[in-house]
Symmetry: none
Subunit: 221 residues, 4 copies
DNA sequence: AATGAATGAGGGTTCATTCAT
DNA sequence: CATGAATGAACCCTCATTCAT
């Protein structure tokens, strides 16, 4: 009896391990090639598994991609909350927050791209066709909601940091929504800096530049 | 209904330049699907031409894409120069410039996204393989240079406006390179605002928000 | 352990078998249609595989064709050497040699025809463009050399037989190069007898007729 | 009245001229590329006509090819008859005949190839499918007969020359059918000498070598 | 459980042929 | 008559997915 239980336990562990391992391999491949150009062959090779084995752990390429995005968002969100709860003044929270997001973007390159690409592409991945009808038996119909919630929560944290900064007198009494959006835009814009290799700042440099300008502006007083 | 309208549209172009028409159709498709997911079938359908006909006007999918990028850049660059040469003070030049770029991004739909997000694809299109060696008899060998130049010129204009503003005392003595990059990032970031439909600002609102924060910062003095 | 080994062995066999099987099917199709008119669909149908499966075994149509040519030449060459090394007088060696080549031509159906008739195609297959410059990253760059060598070796054997016959006094002191070429031409000419169904000799009849005329000529002395 | 007649005459002339001109252009293209690789675009370019115009003079690529073959055969046949009727001794007739055929082969390269290619390919061109049923409305159902007759007539002339030579005592009393076939094979074999560029004899050299060996054989007496 | 083998459904591209002026 | 424009049908090849062991 105990034997059986242990065996199952072991199995479950192995399965979980393999799942994580494959996801990591897939992440590498997606990061290098983007979604369309990444092939299951490449993922299988990276994971040192056979292609068919991937299908024992995931239903489809889409599902793998989805899992990675959601895992990824969950992690980022968790860390953002941790930062928010630290006993720091707003400026320092914001510094850490920007640092987090920028590293996150850098690390999760390809997914971030897809997220910010056109809705339709994301929806294609989500098995939803463009007229609004689900394509055949959509296997993950509610997932976009989960995705959406996670995304919104991230921006709520940004806004909260700013609001606290205003309350504490560190920041001017700016429109919080606007300021939050501007900060998000700055980070996004720094990340998606185009195909030209010049002007590549390190994460730390980026953070300081963003902060300097976001705090001070350029106007001469 | 849309069909009929498009057919008529095409009729009107009868003896005129189908090239432009196809490019526009392709632009729509690319904007919606990105490069890899866009098919020649889809482009043909959008243009109301047969797939084979596309090949009367362009050698390949790559070439179509390339033409769109370059046309697009050329137009934007021309307008940017016009603005720069207007006799305005820096703040107003900057306002017009931001307005131009934002409308341009909006008009070219999310097509611009591909430039900023699908580096791999872009390199494939430019006949450059990912290990850095050019592949076979590239039919557009100098085009990356042209592309690069255009892109750089755009950022030179941004920098020039800022530099002039500093000289005239309108702006603080900030690092011009950094300021230029921050401004570009702001614009890009505003445009690539992700799949969530909330917080969609009009172009004019966007411009004012960008200006306000870029000029003043959020720090309380 | 032994089981595993045997399984692997079996697998290896099956793979080799399939490869051979596909090559045979392709040979039939090429023989019937020539290179350009032969389609991968036809080869797949002949081999009772799906078209996609062919690409598990070969990279391209070119490669299939190439493999067939080289296999074919290698076999013929091996047999020709065997004959040459037999302890026979020149006339009998020549008889066997002619018989070999004719059966070989017959067995390889009119596939051989492509070698002798579709030079342009052959050069395309060898990744050599028609103006004489090699195209892109040729995957079989040395193969033409291998091919050429094999072809030349065949004619060297012909010449050797004739030279030996002259030395032994069986043949007149003719120009060896010319005689060898004439013999080769006779065999080719017998094989490529045109679309008219008449005058089809059996291999044996062909051999005897060739020998009779090649030895005696038609002049009255 | 006379005007009308002249106009028609002129028209007829021009049409005939254009036809001939296109045929010549097509011949050049076929000669260089073979049947499959030759495109209507290439023929149109060579003829300096538009592609559509070709279709005013011929129904299809096939028909063009067919016309060329038949014209070509007719010409060759006519010249062969002329030679046969010359008051020469058999050896000289044969020399001229071989010369004619070899030059003809050289000049009509690609067609000769097709003629000696597999029956099925030729039949495909003749609009006859492989099960023996004509494909749709075969536009030239009897043409193969015309073709066949011409081919047979050529070999009849060969045989006649040999037969006359035997009668006059110039040649030994060989089997005429065989000798004729051997001669034909020699010529074909010389022509289809494979993809290796070596051993390319001029027509005149070829003729002399063929004659020498065909007359004398290689046996030491 | 794991995997090598197999494939259906497309992808971009070409070309003989027809259409419309 | 001549032709530029248009296209359907096919071609070679790829890849996410399923099958069979």
């Amino acid at each position: 009896m105990k034997n059986t239980y242990q065996r199952e336990e072991r199995e479950r562990h192995r399965r979980a391990d393999n799942t994580a391992f494959i996801l990591q391999a897939a992440e590498n491949v997606f990061a290098q090639w983007g979604y369309s150009l990444a092939t299951m062959d490449a993922i299988a090779a990276e994971a040192q598994f056979s292609k068919a084995t991937l299908y024992r752990y995931f239903h489809s390429k889409k599902e793998i991609f989805l899992k990675i995005i959601l895992n990824s968002l969950a992690t980022a969100h968790r860390r953002a909350v941790e930062i928010y709860e630290k006993p720091l003044k707003a400026e320092d929270k914001m510094r850490e927050y920007i640092q987090l997001i920028m590293s996150y973007y850098k690390q999760k390159e390809s997914f971030i791209k897809i997220i910010f690409m056109e809705k339709q592409v994301l929806m294609k991945i989500f098995n939803i066709d463009l007229k609004g009808f689900p394509i055949k038996s959509a296997k993950h119909p509610e997932i976009p909601a989960e995705f959406k919630t996670k995304m919104e929560n991230m921006s709520k944290i940004t806004n909260a940091i700013i609001r606290d900064g205003i309350k504490s007198g560190e920041f001017r009494n700016v429109n919080v929504q606007h300021a939050g959006f501007v900060l998000g835009a700055l980070i996004r814009g720094f990340h998606f800096s185009g195909p030209l290799p010049e002007k590549q700042f390190t994460v730390n440099d980026s953070v300081e530049i963003i902060l300097k300008f976001f705090f001070n502006g350029i106007r001469n007083k």
